[in-house]
Point group: D2
């Protein structure tokens, strides 16, 4: 039985780019972490070390910086698309380019002074597939797909969360509760139907939908809250076709203060690190192919 | 257009389990991080908050600890299989259970004294799918798949690595080199054809194959080294059907000492953190369905 | 020459405490990480393993939770003082207790809904020394010292920063610049003269002084900015007697785009991780003993 | 009351240096993280931004790389001394230089192939104080002090550890135990009396003493184990004058399996992250000034 090379890809990860846009004395700041991943006709370098089809990852990095200067950076979805299209168009051997960007938020303190906003990160991923085999499509652009999302948005409801009525197997000791803390760090990705989108408005709207649904849902399970969050995004943002959510359940355990003669009516909790529940789901529009 | 729940799963992540096995005064130590992920008929909890089919993640955690006591832990592949089979068998609503285990190595210092071995981690993932729809199969066991692997194995060759003959596009400034440092942190996963395997022997053999191929390959690209590593595993371990490798290129840049009147003939390097190349591929046996 | 036990201390580190204060349906959230360190007559446990003077660190942890319930938590300086005083008072063997608290910020989203504010952390450390040897002092309270501060406040000026006129030794290749990005993650601690302080107001004032001085200083060196920040705190907050600042210089390097036919007039930068400059100083009032 | 600049220092942190020494085809690898800290007549840059006395941290970084080439790197204590002496000697304004080096271990796999050894890190710190005010001393060398140590050495005894006889206050719920797991991550620093030392031999000896004492001590408290470790170093290594140890107590809690009808005779434990006990002490030779 012979041994063969299967799916493969390569690229440059975590290119840290900060761009300052100067409108006279008033500056705009853009702080990105860009990861490029390329796939295509790359068997030779694996099998024989022939690099004739390999664009160095160092060149990919240079391209990120050069394009930031020559094209500017406004919405990260557009910058990811620009880069992904470039790699599949400019490199004959590359049939798929994926560019993932993380954007770190900064809050303005002055005309050219800023403060990092914290742990929340906006993300976008553009994937461009070479369409050489389809003569009717736009061969320069190829087929594209855009995902956006966020990570590190930590949310907590200090009440309006129950967990009851679950399976009791021989290993179940968890007491049912009708009032607990529900906390999570939202990791969300949503997929667009096409690329003609007001990215900034769509991001703000999707983010607000996630937050509003978390805040407004009386939760019977983190699954229910998750579904409500994804449903809200799709209900409010017609340009989004699918939402994937990964929500760790950051358990807050009520401390037993009885040994010290104290009641603890939902007041003092220990925030735990590990283990944690992890709830994941995709919510999509009916009729779409859901992965 | 209606909104629907798509693929979903849940479970308990990072259950930290340490087991001490006492043979008189001589102890064996087993240090694990166990993550359980369940999928199945879980729509109700998402859509209405009805938890009647939800086994709490706390119960999953308890099961890990109880099984460690009642069944013991020898090879992590077997412990992962045991747990995965339990969840699909014992929980009618659960049609797929995946148990991923990380094992941290300890080196013996005495009869009951140990030292952590370092950053390298052995991994195993067992997935058990309920086979209720197939009357001919073993309904108790279901369909199972076992993957093993390792992370955090940091390897470096201080020579016998070139990078030449690559694409020069307008953004290429990287000089060709016939002598560079090649360093990576191996992240490898390999898939087994069935479950009747000498797990310890197979792990040791696969790990040795990875290391030997890295050490013994005169590298023209990290892709070539990667392929050699995967190929070696498959060539030497017939029980393994596929290997996936993810290799960051931990760049070591030669420092320019000319401003200080010094040559630097491959002696002084700066080890960089970001950005880094990332090379990923699957190597498999021809005829297998490769994802 | 004999071997002796010198300075020693012990305690419980990183007690994670979340407290929910309920005013009807409107909740307040307090999220802390508490570290207790005790010193005193503890030679026996070191020398012979006699624990008769050792309060278990587990009991220290319990005390944190019990006091959060029985005394509440408002300002972290007061909670740290309460705990520190308790340990020196209640434990005859303990002559010095230090309680360090980190407070994580949460922004309100609703009556009982919150979002983590990000990387910035408010800190306080109270140290209480048993005054048994000084009959004239308040024997119950002992001598106390309070420090407050913050970490993780990331600030950036995209201009108004120069670095010129420095020493040029044979290893200097850095070009002088009259326009660079200046960025840092502020780690500040300030010391109070006594404990009768409006902690919340003082914290807000000191934080604002740090930020305002960073924003408003035309910087000739990060040292100059650091001094301006510490000076501003002391100038505006008479209750503070000393400020210590530790400021990493988060270098942003202008990318050389000339190989691509592009100028780069202060627009595209690479944000680097390592190495980084680190500038540290104490600013205090004249006449104070400064460590 | 005027505001004054107190103690201050600056330098370059985390200069990552990898050096390859080639003996024909057989290579030696040295992997370091170097941090330089300088103090002296630096008031001007703080007060007015006059940098005439400031050696850029970039030049400090260059010096590390250039010295690695021109002087080589053998023992990190010597390399730290070399650098520290250089900065106080070559820079008139600098009266104290401190160079801290972390060395990452690599295990040989072949003539020029290596594997990272894991989490354990060898450390050394050399401090050189300018002796210009003392005409009788060696003005070129100044006063020097060398510390060495290690971090990240994780040790565990699975028995021979008790914790009993401690204080029971109203917040004590911890049950006494005569058999527990004792685990820690050793952070040790030791100070030398002078600089004419076989650094490699002394390091190996001190490390072995720490490990042997941990393994061989029947522990009644982690304090007792700590003291035994420090005492052993001083007893066996006359060139070392003081040892400082910081030992987190990595708690392993016996899991209560009674709800599942199982006993748990010291077999199944949960390894916890936070909170943790933290035990710190200095052990020194009588007659020395101990900080």
């Amino acid at each position: 039985m012979s041994i063969v090379l299967g799916a493969n890809q390569y690229g440059k990860a975590e290119v840290r780019l900060v761009r300052v846009l100067r409108h006279g004395g008033r500056h705009e700041l853009c702080d990105l972490n860009v990861t490029v991943t390329l796939a295509g006709d790359l068997a030779a370098t694996h099998l024989t070390g022939d690099n004739a089809q390999v664009l160095p990852t160092d060149s990919q990095k240079n391209t990120v910086y050069a394009f930031a200067r020559s094209h500017g950076v406004d919405q990260i979805e557009d910058f990811a698309l620009l880069l992904a299209r470039h790699f599949v168009t400019a490199q004959p051997a590359i049939s798929r380019a994926r560019v993932r960007i993380e954007e770190y938020g900064w809050q303005r303190l002055g005309p050219h002074s800023f403060q990092r906003s914290g742990g929340e990160v906006r993300t976008a991923t553009a994937t461009c597939v070479d369409s050489e085999f389809d003569a009717d499509s736009d061969a320069d652009a190829g087929l594209v797909e855009v995902e956006a999302g966020l990570t590190g948005l930590v949310l907590l409801n200090s009440t309006d969360s129950e967990f009851t009525g679950y399976v009791k197997d021989p290993y179940t000791t968890l007491p049912e509760t009708t009032d607990r803390i529900l906390a999570t760090a939202v990791d969300a990705r949503w997929r667009y139907q096409d690329t003609g989108v007001d990215w900034a408005g769509s991001y703000a709207g999707a983010r607000a939908a996630l937050v509003d649904a978390f805040v407004g849902t009386y939760s019977l399970s983190l699954q229910q809250t998750l579904y409500a969050m994804g449903h809200r995004v799709l209900a409010e943002r017609p340009e989004i076709t699918e939402v994937r959510l990964s929500l760790p359940n950051r358990h807050h355990l009520l401390v037993d203060l009885a040994p010290f003669g104290l009641e603890n009516p939902g007041e003092v909790f220990v925030a735990t690190d590990r283990p944690y529940g992890l709830i994941e789901a995709t919510i999509s529009r009916a009729g779409d192919g859901v992965g």
